[in-house]
């Protein structure tokens, strides 16, 4: 080394750089800034409840929080409204939170996730339900056993149902009038339904689609499978559950009940499933209904309210949606799904699941009980954005403004058709749903595509069901 000494000027310059950098670092370190710890309620010992963001509006969440605080001032509560497109998106975000070590204590879970959460993440509510049986009698007496059974897994109860939606048929009264058709009878058949669609099409013009449906697990092909007396996966009941049925339900209601649903062997390639797909394919070919991928729930209110769609399957949630969109209560009505071999309907329900990672399980149970109270549910479901699980909440006053005239259909879908059941949602529900959507699109792509597509669907479903979840 011949030049090991830095010139004085260079040394001064480096000194200035260093001082500047130190000053910047010091300023940055002392700057008041937001961190994860600044999020209200974060790591403060609050009971964290994750809900699907769009399920409850901020005012409702506020009411929920304040009401719970009045009842349990010692349990701080934070409602984490997770914004998501649908239930699968919501689950993905919850699972990401769990992976990140910020798992909530309670998660609002719909049928699609009940068994997945029960198997992997959930805590059975059995012991608390048994302990507080006296307190809960009024709740169970008000809630249909089918909804409760849909929240059971292998004999244990994982959620108290808060809401549900069965797939009924919404009819546009303006379109009915244009077609000169009367309101269908409650026991209308599939052929009556087809004839109505043809009448609507005849009088509707080229830009009119009589039947609008979306390709999804709830409200897509599945209601037609149920009506045709079949299902995507073989359905049976798990043993157990008598501890609950015997405690809360009279003999007539507990007959045939078990420990929750089991969906096992795929049966996509069976005759009845193919028959249901053939029927839908014929509707598509005759321009009587949208193609599966064409149907998109996001623009449905618009096309329905402007008379470009005549009929669509939806649950009680649509009463609120149509009212928000400015549709008058007398502009539409609702009827049961048409009868085919059966008139069994499908539904999806939701409630709070308690996570086994929660360290506040007693407090979480108090919240579950609080949320299931009638006064709380009345505050939560003010706008008819869903069908409350409590029968007593469905009354004329609730639907006086939003409609429809036949609002009784919503709960009667359970009471009048007690075999009405949940959509097939085993723990592998995400893959099952993907397979269903994909091959439904393929099956209805061309006239003779149904058989081959269903055979491939069968293979894919078998593969999906074999996967360890």
């Amino acid at each position: 080394m011949t030049d090991s000494h830095l010139p004085r000027r260079t040394l001064l310059r480096y000194g200035a750089y260093g001082a500047g950098a130190a000053a910047l670092a010091g300023t940055a370190a002392s700057w008041d800034r937001l961190t994860g710890a600044d999020i209200p309620g974060r790591d403060d010992g609050s009971l964290v409840v994750a809900t699907l963001g769009s399920a409850f509006d901020p005012a409702t969440v506020d009411a929920l929080t304040k009401g719970f605080h009045r009842l349990h001032p010692d349990i701080p509560l934070r409602v984490n409204a997770v914004q998501a497109v649908d239930w699968s998106d919501f689950f993905a975000k919850i699972l990401t939170q769990i992976a990140a070590g910020t798992a909530p204590d309670l998660v609002y879970v719909a049928t699609e996730g009940v068994q997945l959460f029960a198997r992997r993440l959930g805590v059975s509510l059995d012991r608390w339900v048994r302990r507080d049986a006296a307190e809960l009698r009024e709740y169970f007496a008000d809630v249909h056993p089918s909804l409760v059974e849909s929240m059971m897994y292998e004999g244990n109860l994982y959620q108290l149902p808060m809401e549900f939606n069965a797939a009924d048929m919404y009819l546009n009264k303006q379109v009915l009038k244009r077609a000169g058709a009367g309101f269908p009878a409650a026991d209308w058949s599939r052929d009556d339904f087809t004839a109505l669609l043809r009448e609507m099409k005849r009088t509707g013009g080229s830009h009119f689609t009589p039947y609008f449906w979306t390709n999804r697990l709830w409200g897509g092909v599945v209601p037609w499978l149920f009506a045709n007396g079949t299902n995507l996966l073989k359905e049976s009941k798990a043993p157990g559950g008598s501890w609950l049925w015997d405690t809360f339900y009279p003999a007539a209601d507990r007959r045939g009940r078990g420990g929750g649903f089991r969906w096992t062997t795929p049966q996509a390639a069976t005759d009845r499933v193919e028959e249901a797909y053939d029927y839908l394919a014929s509707l598509v070919q005759d321009d009587l209904c949208t193609r599966p991928e064409g149907g998109n729930g996001s623009n449905l209110v618009g096309v329905f309210s402007t008379g470009r769609v005549g009929v669509t399957p939806a649950g009680g949630f649509w009463a609120g949606g149509l009212q928000q969109a400015g549709v008058r209560a007398d502009g539409y009505d609702v009827q049961y799904f048409p009868r085919w071999r059966t008139q069994r309907h499908q539904f999806g329900a939701a409630g709070y699941a308690l996570l086994r990672t929660s360290k506040k399980q007693e407090a979480a149970w108090e919240f579950i009980k609080y949320a299931a109270r009638k006064d709380t549910m009345t505050r939560l479901f003010r706008t008819n954005q869903t069908t409350p699980a409590r029968r007593s909440m469905l009354n004329a006053a609730r639907y006086a403004t939003s409609g429809p005239a036949h609002w009784r259909v919503f709960y009667d879908t359970l009471d009048r058709f007690p075999d009405t059941g949940p959509i097939p949602a085993p723990p592998q529900v995400a893959e099952v749903t993907d397979v269903l959507l994909k091959y439904t699109g393929t099956a209805l792509a061309s006239p003779r595509a149904v058989g081959p597509a269903l055979r491939r669907m069968q293979g894919a479903l078998e593969q999906a069901m074999e996967r360890e979840v």
């Binding site: 689609t209 949208t290 991928e293 064409g294 096309v303």
Partner: protein
Amino acid sequence: MTNTQVPDSQVPNSQGPNSQGPPVSSRPATPSAAAVRPSARDRGTRLLAALFLAPTVVGIVVFTVVPIIGSVVLSLFHWNVIDPPRFAGGANYRTTFTDSTVLVSFRNTLLFMVLAVTLQLLIALTLALALNGRMPVWLRSVFRSAFFFPLVLSAASISVVMKYLFNQDFGVVNWLIGLVGVAPVPWLTSEHAAMATVILVYVWQQFGFSFLLFIGGLNNIPKEIHEAAALDGATGLRKHLGITLPLLSPTLLVASVVGIINALQVFEQPYVLTDGGPGDATRTVVMVIYERAFEQLDFGEASAVGVLLFALIMAVTAVQFRLSRRFVHYQ
């Protein structure tokens, strides 16, 4: 480091025989230590350069290199987020290579890449050449802004709007073509039309980037060369083929490399427009990664597919650079 004496005969002669530069023999045969060792000023400059580069390098390491290594490691495990990871060896890769959905998604992605990038470059180049000609400056600015505008919008938002426009039953596009007697087209619901529609939407959004690159490249071509060619009697087409394109080839290389890398990672447009359907007709590799990871909770297999996609992108890019030696001309 010691200074190695380099004999005159081994000093590479990078200059041609007619070079006007100093002869190689004029270089010192044994460079002094001062000539090789950087001066204090150089060292300061290098240190400053390193300081400026450091945040970027750290960012690349933390947000790119580490996740890549993480993905490679994760691809060797079964992990569902909930349970601890279990070592799987090559099982995820074996599953990937036998899964028809994954294989179809790779085929779709490659098809998408070829068609979308070709169309994107052709449109961008054509428009850039057209706008580079005689046109009022203000009009040129309007066109440039218009072409670039879609690029600044969110791909998801654009796709949502496009989904409405291309809806077979209620879309504006079918309504418009219906006015001239054309039957409704199943833009998003037919196996053949769906991919074309997705490509159309993608190209419409993306070509503005290539267009801007081409505009910049065209502006860098000296006018004198075109003028000289004109004096030699070259016509418009001849000038484009013989002068513009060769001189634009470095820009073309950049545009195609960026275009191909983006196209191989396409997600939003097919996800929103068709959700990969009908069937698997528009399912792309990144969609499969998303589905495996966040819908089926199989992060190991998702990582395996991701690693394969990474390898594919690296391979395609390497081939491009290799081929570029033949067709890229630097001034």
